[in-house]
Symmetry: C2
Subunit: 130 residues, 2 copies
DNA sequence: CCTTGCCTTGACGCTGACGACAAGGTTTAG
DNA sequence: CTAAACCTTGTCGTCAGCGTCAAGGCAAGG
């Protein structure tokens, strides 16, 4: 399988696949003319990479998962290194959820305050929207 | 007040203040020697900018709040344009919270699965941790 | 006069995951 | 012969909010 085919099958671009290779995530063989040749298994690998990036992982975070897949596991997440990353990411996400929740609260408060302010400076006849 | 003093009082850098100016958020006067001269009110403005950026706003989002403060309001959030931004941001945050929650769920599931997998391939004597 | 400590503009660096070219080789079909 | 459709490496651009020099002007104290 050449790079174009893999790109299409994985729903990505050739540029992306070369980028992953430059960062050590895929190691295609080369045919006589210098073309990259991928075997079927790489499709799974690329799909795993894409899925993890979509979820907010960085390329470095993805590496253990790729290695895990290459080691013959059906899922990239079952190896110890992957689990470490999963734990760390879960903690990060929880952290972010907390902060984002606080932000949401703040926005809500500001909005409420602004509405109240509008009612105060420009009151309606009783309490009804037009 | 010169730029260095404002920077320190606002807890930021001179570079940052010049950056805000380049993007039309502050308009200091100039003294005879070309130095930027800020009046006291600008401190509030800069603090508002910083607060909003910290919460995840972009510079463009911040503009209405600055204008609102300059219009004499005690809070930058009470003007109609600011309220629009607040509403939009609240929606964005809610959206992001949803997606982040889904991601969290996925991570949790993967972790659970990985633990189960470990128990399966490398079982303990009964069910206890060392 | 010299140093110190402000200030000025200008311009490159950074982070991440690519997109978008440029300039060229290969293979196949017509 | 040539056009089409692959492939190659290399390099620059993107987004945001600054950090970090660089090179120089201005003011004041000793």
């Amino acid at each position: 399988m050449l790079i174009g085919e893999l790109a299409e099958r994985a729903g990505t671009s050739t540029r992306t696949l070369r980028y992953y290779e430059a960062h050590g995530l895929v190691h295609p063989q080369r045919s006589a003319n210098g073309y990259r040749v991928y075997d079927e298994a790489e499709l799974r690998v690329v799909q795993e990479i894409r899925a993890l990036l979509d979820v907010g992982f960085g390329l470095d975070d993805v590496r253990p998962f790729v290695a895990c897949l290459r080691a013959g596991n059906a899922s990239g997440g079952v190896c110890p290194d992957s689990v470490l990353v999963l734990r760390r990411k879960l903690a990060e996400v929880d952290d972010y959820l907390d902060r984002l929740g606080a932000v949401r609260q703040q926005l809500h408060t500001q909005l409420t305050h602004a509405i109240a302010h509008r009612e105060e400076t420009c009151p309606r006849k009783r309490a009804s929207a037009p």
